[in-house]
């Protein structure tokens, strides 16, 4: 039996969509199912129209789909806006006491959420729990799993609240069992247990990886969609003796982490494109002073304030080229939570090994989407802090020089505060011992030294992910968070008889020139699939390999790429 069913929960901001969605998703995950959720919110605290989407499968799912099987409508707008997304025999669950539906002829299932909540749990506040129970019942799922999740979520609020939520859910469940739709065709069954899996979003993957990788200091300024990275890190301050400091602005944030890193701590900041714009001066400072830092950019649509709560991949070229002057850096763009976790760990190691800034490029879609994924292998987290100046090197090199010219370009580090030597660095061009200079040959030597590190760094960059038909005639190219949608689109195309291969880049800079050239050279037809309006990866490929990508599939309405969107664009004009 194959399961691939999606729920959409729609309503106004403040109606509790996220709680319904999260509990429903977790109940499914607890039955061994693979779950992917994403949210579509307006930038407001109350009102408007938001929705939360959950995709459930017995196979791995890492992206959303446009085919919806069950809509839970908390307002009429949800029905109007989303009824056309329903598959054949799909159902809309709604509260008929609140929403008049005489003008619709879809499959409607009236469950009076508030009335049931009042009758069975003595509080209309439990209406959302009624809705969850109703949805679970409709797809024939196990109520016990929902009950256990409700207990986990509400026990901290006291036994009474927990019990009432369970009563309300059971009432919703029973109501649909008795008054439900006969032979609803989309059924979900428990397929196992969940002990080998975890459920988290992109931001949680990055923040937890930072903590496991020894990041001890984060300074940042709240900005959607990066804020939950900041909050997650801050929530661990007490237990793990790390520090989060909310800076007065992003300029301060990046300079604080540079100061902390210079003094000896693994340090990180997180922001979105607008905040990163303010950090660019500091990025260049990290490049010049060879101070390792990690910067997470959770992209959202620009320019300027753009769509604050939506998604875009508009900052690839910005991340790669940002900063005055020339200096080495690395740029990663994870495609799912697993990649986000392991690449964050790698980002810290490379930053310190090469004493460079490393940028992790995520976006709202990855930041806020929850994935079930296999438990991370934490034993693979290795902390490599790079080369250090030691007592024995005093004999070899004499007094400590922070920017000692070496064959590798890497100058051993020392942290200030030790008798072993004084640590001096400068944003001006500097001598080996870190003092201001204006000498031409010193500048040349330093530029060459800094870029020798880039040559070594190139060897640490992983090869892109390739998937699909071996003897393909068409290559679909993507990067970052579109991984799941691209992979599913590739699979569908090949299942339908096309010969398509997918190339996904998540370690983007320094650019893996050879690996990408090799894939492109053998194919006449290449398509860059990106969530931006100009095809920034296509530009980059042309700049780095000299090969022109033939076609672009672009989405820039602030909504995430779906397999269906890719397929529609793929077939256009064919």
């Amino acid at each position: 039996m194959s399961i691939d069913i999606s729920f959409k929960i729609g309503g106004e901001a403040g109606q509790g969509l996220q709680t319904i969605g999260y509990i429903l998703a977790k109940s499914m995950a607890r039955g061994g199912l693979c779950v992917f959720t994403n949210q579509d919110n307006e930038s407001r605290i109350r009102g408007g129209h938001n929705f939360y989407q959950i995709r459930i499968s017995n196979n791995k799912v890492e992206n959303l789909t446009e085919e919806i099987h069950v809509i839970i409508a908390l307002d009429k707008k949800t029905i109007i806006e989303h009824k056309d997304e329903l598959v054949k025999n799909g159902v809309i669950i709604f509260d008929g006491d609140k929403i008049s539906v005489t003008d619709f002829d879809e499959n409607l299932l009236n469950v009076p959420f508030e009335r049931i909540a009042k009758e069975k749990a003595d509080s209309t506040k439990m209406a959302n729990s009624v809705a969850i129970g109703a949805a679970i019942s409709l797809v024939g799922y196990d109520f016990d799993l929902l009950e256990s999740v409700l207990k986990d979520e509400f026990d901290s609020k006291g036994a009474e609240i927990s019990d009432k939520n369970i009563q309300a859910s059971r009432a919703g469940f029973n109501y649909v069992s008795e008054n439900g739709i006969d032979k609803f065709p989309y059924r979900i069954k428990k397929i196992g247990d969940s002990q080998d899996f975890i459920f988290l979003n992109g931001n949680e993957a990055i923040a937890s990886a930072a903590l496991l990788s020894g990041c001890k200091f984060v300074s940042a300024y709240p900005m959607s969609p990066s804020t939950s990275i900041q909050q997650f890190f801050a929530s661990k301050m007490k237990d793990y003796c790390v520090v989060f400091e909310q800076a007065e602005d992003e300029i301060s944030a990046i300079n604080m982490i540079i100061g902390a890193s210079f003094a000896g701590a693994r340090s990180m900041t997180a922001t979105s494109g607008g905040g990163f714009s303010l950090m660019v001066e500091g990025l260049s400072l990290a490049g010049m002073t060879e101070t390792p830092i990690v910067i997470v950019i959770c992209e959202r649509p620009g320019p300027a304030t753009g769509f604050p709560t939506r998604t875009e991949q508009g900052e690839l070229e910005f991340a790669i080229y940002a900063g005055h002057g020339e200096f080495p850096r690395a740029v990663f763009a994870p495609g799912n939570v697993e990649q986000a976790f392991y690449l964050t760990s790698k980002a810290f190691n490379l930053a310190e090994k090469y004493q460079i800034p490393v940028i992790i490029l995520s976006d709202q879609y990855l930041a806020d989407s929850y994935f079930t994924t296999e438990k991370f292998d934490t034993s693979s987290i290795k902390v490599d802090r790079g080369e250090f100046f030691t007592e024995s090197q005093v004999k070899k090199f004499g007094a400590y020089k922070r920017h000692l010219i070496t064959e590798s370009g890497i100058s051993p580090r020392l942290f200030p505060g030790q008798k072993l030597g004084l640590v001096v660095t400068d944003s001006d061009e500097h001598t080996e011992d870190g003092h201001i200079t204006e000498l031409a040959d010193v500048k040349i030597n330093n530029v060459n030294k800094r870029f020798r590190k880039l040559e070594l760094l190139k060897k640490d960059i992983g090869t892109p992910f390739v998937y699909g038909s071996k003897d393909a005639d068409t290559l679909l190219i993507g990067w970052g968070s579109t991984y799941g949608a691209l992979k599913e689109a590739t699979k569908i195309l090949n299942d339908q008889g096309s010969n398509v291969k997918m190339l996904h880049l998540n370690e983007i800079w320094p650019f893996p020139v050879e690996a990408v050239s090799n894939e492109l050279k053998i194919l006449d037809n290449s398509i860059s699939v990106e969530s931006n309006s100009t095809g920034q990866m296509a530009h980059l490929i042309r700049a780095e390999t000299g090969i022109e990508v033939n076609k672009k599939i672009l989405r820039f309405d602030g909504r995430p790429l779906t397999p269906q969107y890719i397929l529609r664009e793929f077939w256009k004009g064919r």
Partner: protein
């Protein structure tokens, strides 16, 4: 014992007669007075003639960007509270470009000392108005005289509840070095605003001009009296007070989270296994 010789370091690139020489001498004397070895001191500077000062000393140094001294100094102090951190810059660096960081450093009360060489003019860029230039002051960018009112750093600092603020004069090295010593020894964020003649671009506020006006606050003045301090901060013109203008006991950033002093971040031995429990948050 540490001596002045431990801090001697090479030639300077300042104009002959520059007020910075007096400040450099006063800083060295203060460091000797507090008996710190050069490796125990981290100086953080920005850009401007003042920001070059640490290059002419022996100590750890992060010479960063214009206006960004305080965030760098803050980050370093948080992860290694054992370092004595001194930020140094000019009025352009600290009160214009870095004005926001200045206000928030006061709020944060991070235990660092901030020395501002206040010469009311931009020196390195060769003679433009600064945030503390007097009204009507004619410079290359204010040919009709500066219109904006000068920023009063001391009154601003007191209004925001700074832990320690004093004013020094680069023409009185002994007095200045004592003031800097007190600032270093103060727990919390300390500002020393230093009146510094710019012999090349400021022909108004000269050594002579200052010598006629400055007077030292004596024991009859109580720097703990916030209202008196606020009044003192506004005294300018015929008589200009120098010395400790305001000080108060305030919990410092580090004292507020004593664990980061007991278990300093840079001394923590990281073992990823001790952090595995974090992933329990994501259990299904």
């Amino acid at each position: 014992m540490v001596s002045l010789k431990d801090y001697e370091n090479g030639d300077t690139a300042w104009c002959p007669g520059c007020g910075n020489f007096g400040i450099l001498q006063a800083v060295k004397k203060a460091l000797v007075k507090v008996n710190l070895e050069p490796h125990q001191v981290l100086m953080v500077s920005g850009i401007g003639q003042a920001a070059k000062l640490p290059h002419y000393l022996k100590c750890n140094l992060f010479n960063g960007l214009h206006g960004r001294t305080l965030p760098v100094a803050t980050g370093a102090k948080i992860v290694n509270p054992k370092l004595t951190v001194i930020a140094v810059g000019g009025d352009g660096d600290g009160y214009s470009e870095g004005g926001n960081h200045f206000i928030h450093a006061i709020r944060r009360n991070i235990d660092i000392t901030y020395l501002v060489h206040d010469n009311q003019i931009y020196g390195l860029t060769k003679g433009q108005a600064s945030a503390t230039s007097a009204e009507g002051f004619v410079t290359k960018t204010t040919p009709m005289g500066a219109f904006s009112k000068p920023l009063n750093p001391i009154a601003l600092a007191i209004s925001q509840g700074i832990s320690f603020v004093g004013r020094g004069f680069s023409g009185d090295i002994e007095h200045l070095s004592t003031l800097i010593t007190e600032a270093i020894e103060n727990r919390g964020f300390s500002l020393v605003d230093i009146l510094q003649p710019c012999v090349t671009f400021n022909n108004v506020n000269t050594y002579q001009w200052y010598r006629k006006r400055v007077y030292k606050l004596d024991n009859s003045y109580d720097p703990k009296d916030r209202n008196a301090a606020f009044q003192k901060a506004q005294e300018w013109g015929e008589r200009i007070p120098i010395g400790k203008i305001y000080a108060q006991d305030r919990l410092t950033y580090i004292e507020h989270d004593p664990e980061i002093e007991r278990n300093p971040i840079i001394e923590q031995k990281h073992n990823p296994e001790n952090f595995n429990k974090i992933l329990d948050d994501f259990k299904i």
